[in-house]
């Protein structure tokens, strides 16, 4: 796995790979990918991918408002907020 791929994947996951663990993790990833490459051998022609073990369709909800206002508890239990908003460092678009 080349360095660029690893750093792209790390960025997509918002994880940093520093000097210390970067090499180890890259090695681990390579080994794991090598391990899962076994899947290549399976004959899956015309096989529909399975995304859920349940062969059924979804139950849906009626269009009704059922939620209560829980702003206070949500903001109180958040890492950083004021009376009205969750706060993050200024985003520049």
């Amino acid at each position: 796995m080349d360095k660029k791929t690893v750093s792209t994947i790390a960025y997509l996951s918002r994880l940093s790979l520093d000097e210390e663990n970067g090499e180890k993790i890259t090695k681990d990833l390579e080994n794991i990918i090598k391990f899962v490459n076994q899947l290549e051998d399976a004959n899956t022609q015309n096989i529909e991918p399975l995304s859920s073990p349940l062969e059924k369709t979804a139950k849906t909800r009626e269009d009704k408002v059922t939620a209560q206002n829980r702003k206070d508890i949500f903001l109180e239990r958040s890492p950083k907020s004021n009376d009205d908003y969750f706060l993050v460092p200024r985003v520049v678009e």
């Binding site: 681990d28 899962v36 051998d41 899956t44 239990r77 460092p89």
Partner: protein, 484 residues
């Protein structure tokens, strides 16, 4: 009167005949917890609320099925106003504003949630060595792992601290620790138990389940844990039977499948010996063994290690330091907020799985990995469907061996992944499976796995219960009995 190692039925009886009051029972439970702190089985205790509930129960005679039974809840279930960490630094300060459906179900049935148990971080692991809160000790020996990810729950039951614990099983996280700790644990059919409030690891694989001293106790718990929940659209709408019904009905004629592709000759001789003994025991009970083939079973572990990381990489994206959980100190911009919070908040195994997950879903790799794995998953499921046309249940060892030493799996994550060889297939296919103790290897317990067809937990529990009626592996307790 000692409560250690008692089953749910035994404790219920004691409460009914006033041999012990609810308050005494709970107080004793906390004494046991205190006497076993070295196991590190608990992350958060719920003492005040538990004693309060016990007092209430003493005042008002309750007819609830599990009235007064102390239970340890895996710290992956949200418990309202009680810290829920998932074994992670990321949630070390997380106080959920709501409770999981399964927690509510158990508490409505009268259970007293005494505390949240330690676990592998975000349910990723097979030894409870990845928790931010330290390793859990297997009550059966110093420096032995209890298995994972439900290591704390398994240890709490194995040490006789509580008769019951909730666990979750994504690739074997109930069954494998049950095996290594010498207790009984069951993963039901996918969808039997609501996932509302269960912190998601791999959504199409996760299932909650009971962990207890006997299959019968598992059935008692399962009765209360299952429900059809409109808040979880993957929750089954099927009738929930009484899982305790007809448990001791004889199993003469039960067809048990042995998987051709599980090459047991690779296992330790002692492990094979235990398994063969169990086979003989089942033959005595009237069961019939049939060889079945699951041709794609050898691809289970690689399939799992594509699907589970993919789903978890997405499920864990919500941990970003914005709305809940930990945030890094003084981030200078948004990028740093995300990267530093997540890098500090997650341990190495979680990071590895997130990275693998992002990789197998990324453009250019999706078809070769994720799509391919989901196709193989269907092949594996089809194999099971065919097998269950011929047999009632499938039997195998739960694990390749007994509890191993902390740190002994070395630096290679794949060695740890292969621990789940026997357990993973049932998760991929969404089938129910359980583990019961069936022998000892080097003085350490080991488990027997039974896999059933869709919705056939009854068959599994009956087969397990019958085994437990005629053997006493499930009655064994660790040599070091720490009394309160």
């Amino acid at each position: 009167m000692s409560i250690q190692y008692k089953t749910i039925n035994e404790l219920s009886q004691m409460l009914k005949s006033r041999d012990i009051s609810n308050k005494e029972l709970i107080q004793e439970t906390f004494n046991l917890i205190d006497a076993n702190l070295h196991l590190n089985a608990f992350i958060t205790l719920n003492k005040d609320a538990s004693l309060l509930k016990a007092e209430e129960l003493d005042k008002n005679l309750s007819l609830q099925p599990l009235s007064g039974i102390p239970i340890a809840q895996k710290d992956l279930f949200c418990t309202k106003d009680l810290r829920t960490t998932c074994g992670s630094n990321m949630l070390s300060n997380f106080i959920p504003p709501y409770s999981a459906t399964v927690i509510e179900n158990l508490e409505n049935a009268g259970c007293v949630s005494v505390g949240k148990t330690n676990m592998d971080e975000f349910a990723m692991g097979s030894s409870n060595e990845t928790s931010f809160y330290g390793n859990v000790q297997n009550p059966w020996g110093d420096k032995l792992v209890p298995g994972g990810s439900s290591g704390g729950s398994a240890a709490a039951v194995a040490a006789g601290i509580v008769p019951a614990a909730s666990g979750t099983d994504t690739g074997g996280s109930i069954r494998q620790p049950a095996s290594l700790c010498g207790i009984s644990g069951l993963k039901p059919t996918y969808g039997r138990i609501s996932r509302w409030g269960m912190i998601a690891f791999a959504s199409s694989l996760d299932q909650a389940g009971p962990m207890a001293r006997t299959a019968e106790d598992c059935a008692l718990l399962l009765n209360q844990m299952c429900s059809h929940d409109l808040k979880d659209t993957t929750s089954l709408d099927e009738t929930i039977p009484d899982f305790t019904e007809n448990l001791d009905k004889p199993i003469k004629g039960l067809k048990i499948g042995l998987v051709k592709e599980f090459d047991l000759s690779q296992l330790d001789k002692e492990v094979v010996k235990v398994f063969e003994e169990s086979k003989k025991q089942y033959e005595t009970l009237g069961a019939e063994f049939i060889e079945i083939s699951l041709p794609n079973i050898s691809l289970s572990v690689p399939t799992y290690y594509v699907v589970a990381p993919a789903e978890c990489s997405s499920n864990l994206s919500r941990f970003d330091g914005v709305k809940f959980g930990k945030r890094c100190d003084d981030p200078k911009d948004l990028e740093e907020l995300y990267i530093k919070t997540r890098s500090e908040g997650f341990g190495d195994e979680v990071k590895r799985r997130i990275l693998i997950g992002s990789y197998v879903l990324s453009a250019g790799f999706y078809d070769a990995y994720y799509k391919k794995a989901q196709q193989v998953r269907r092949l594996i499921k089809n194999d099971f469907d065919d097998a269950f046309k011929k047999v009632d249940v499938i039997m195998s060892p739960t694990t390749r061996g007994a509890a191993f030493e902390e740190g002994s799996k070395g630096d290679d994550p794949i060695q740890m992944y292969l621990e789940d060889l026997f357990t993973i297939p049932a998760n991929l296919a969404g089938l129910p499976a359980l583990s019961i103790p069936n022998g000892m290897v080097d003085g350490k317990p080991i488990g027997l796995q039974l896999i059933g067809n869709f919705l056939e937990e009854n068959k599994l529990l009956r087969a397990a219960h019958n085994f437990q009626l005629s053997t006493d592996w499930h009655k064994k307790t660790p040599k070091r009995d720490i009394q309160s």
